[in-house]
């Protein structure tokens, strides 16, 4: 495109003649308006969607928490499962310590035994039992799969006599947190190992005494070990519950007879196992209930 030829004389004359400028007041007003407009703006090139990453992070956090709450614990943290695997060994060690402590303690004065015969175990558990059951339910929620495995394993290892006894109503639980003091056993005289009539309170005492024994972990030990892992405690509680069924259903006399038979047959290992189980079931009262000849069987080393 060809520009029109410009007249230099007119151009220069126009530049010389046309020199008007806007009034200074107008300059100031326009400049102020321009600055006001810039200052009133939220900011240059400010990202209007600054909250997007924040919202995304919050959403991810909420989803993570929700999934963690809905997922079973053994799928959430493998380390917890590892703790559960360690739990039986810890419990066994606790049993051994507990047994040693019981042997060193002086025998409690013979008092009327509050333990009822298994046949007379009330169908409805005592309040203490209910509390223990509630706790065991919590433990079941905490580690259901592992607890089931432990229960099955315990049933497999139990004797036919245990299997029969397992049909008795559930009377034991795993109240590991609120264990009874170790110095409160009420032991019957050796000549009369069974109480004449079970009472609710004494039944609760029996339960509290039985709980640590059936789980192969004394109450005091379980309390001391509790901070290690909640899952381990839950596992112990579940095992307590399973074994407590057998222990409560088996009479002391039958148990002693079985131990003696095993000993007489030369099956010392099995006799020692049964003895250990007996000690675990009856805790500090075990020595008072056991005949003198059966107290000497050493527990087989693991």
């Amino acid at each position: 495109m060809s520009e029109i030829e410009r007249d230099r004389r007119i151009d220069s004359a126009w530049r010389a003649a046309s020199r008007e400028e806007p009034p200074p007041a107008l300059d100031a007003a326009i400049g102020a308006a321009a600055r006001r407009a810039v200052d009133a703006a939220p900011g240059p090139r400010r990202n209007k969607h600054w909250w997007y990453p924040l919202a995304a992070a919050a959403t991810v956090a909420v989803l993570a928490v929700s999934i963690a709450q809905l997922t079973p614990p053994e799928q959430v943290a493998p380390t917890i499962v590892a703790d559960m695997a360690v739990a039986p060994r810890e419990a066994q060690q606790d049993v051994e310590r507990r047994s040693a402590a019981v042997e060193e303690k002086p025998a409690a004065p013979p008092v009327a035994l509050a333990t009822p015969p298994p046949a007379q175990v009330p169908a409805k558990p005592a309040p203490g039992v209910a509390a223990g059951t509630l706790l065991s339910e919590r433990a079941r929620v905490a580690a259901p799969t592992e607890m089931k495995k432990q229960a099955l394993q315990a049933k497999r290892e139990s004797s036919p006599q245990d299997k029969l006894a397992s049909a008795a109503p559930e009377t034991a639980s795993a109240n590991t947190a609120a264990s009874a003091p170790a110095s409160a056993p009420v032991v019957a005289p050796r000549s009369e190992p069974f109480p004449a009539a079970p009472a609710a309170d004494s039944r609760r005492d029996v339960y509290q005494e039985e709980r640590p024994a059936t789980v192969n972990a004394p109450a005091g030990a379980a309390t001391a070990q509790a901070p290690q892992s909640r899952i381990a405690a839950a596992k112990v509680a579940r095992t307590d519950e399973v074994k407590a069924k057998d222990a409560s259903a088996r009479s002391v006399e039958e148990w002693i007879k079985r131990i003696r038979d095993l000993k007489n047959d030369g099956r010392l290992d099995e006799a020692a196992k049964e003895l250990a189980a007996f000690r675990a079931a009856y805790g500090e009262r075990a020595d008072a209930l056991l005949p003198a000849d059966l107290r000497q069987i050493k527990t087989p080393a693991k």
Binding site: I4, I10, A13, R15, S18, E20, E21, P22, P23, A34
Partner: protein, 198 residues
């Protein structure tokens, strides 16, 4: 970042849109005179020119966020001024742009005021060329005057003037040719007077 004086108009406008008030100051300093004189020569009233001038710059401030440098900044700025002027003409009822773009309007162009050669006293007094020229420009038909002012004050090319005013480049060229011819004829007397004195 280069100094505002070294930046192009487009960069300054973008900087102002981003919040740089100093960029606006630089832009304003560059173009305030041309815009003001463009408006002043078109409306011929100082008070009105001031109002229109302020409106043009306020429109620029408001439109800063939507500014896209698709065209020359000067073209955009003078379009704002042109549109504001058209609005003023419409509001005041003086929108009488005379088309003097072709030979058919030569008579109308010749009838326009501004033939200062008819004033012997002006020649004798040797008044400044500038004053004669301003008067001559003021006497131009509005369309020619606008094309002339856009070329002189805004430095726009034919194409830019054509785009801004919404006409073809040939039309703009014709308007400018008529305008220059008219101005030359107005200034001939002055030249003759100077030659006679010389």
């Amino acid at each position: 970042m280069p100094a505002p004086a070294a930046q192009s108009d487009e960069d300054l406008m973008l900087a102002y849109a981003a919040g740089d008030a100093a960029a606006f100051d630089a832009l304003y300093a560059r173009h305030k005179g041309g815009i003001y004189r463009y408006l002043l020569r078109q409306c011929r009233q100082g008070g009105v020119a001031d109002e229109l001038f302020q409106d043009v710059w306020m429109n620029l401030i408001r439109a800063r966020a939507s500014y896209v440098p698709t065209a020359k900044f000067t073209t955009w700025l003078y379009r704002l001024a042109h549109n504001r002027l058209i609005d003023h003409y419409r509001a005041s009822g003086h929108l009488t742009l005379v088309s003097a773009d072709d030979e058919a309007h030569e008579d109308a162009v010749a009838a326009l005021p501004g033939a200062r050669g008819d004033e012997p006293q002006a020649r004798v007094e040797n008044r400044e060329l500038g004053e004669r020229l301003r008067s001559a420009v003021a006497s131009l038909p509005p369309a020619q005057r606008e094309a002339f002012l856009l070329q002189q004050e805004g430095g726009l090319s034919l194409a830019e003037i054509a785009e801004l005013t919404g006409v073809g480049t040939e039309t703009v060229k014709s308007r400018l040719r008529y305008a220059l011819a008219k101005l030359r004829s107005d200034l001939v007397d002055l030249d003759e007077l100077r030659e006679g004195h010389g």
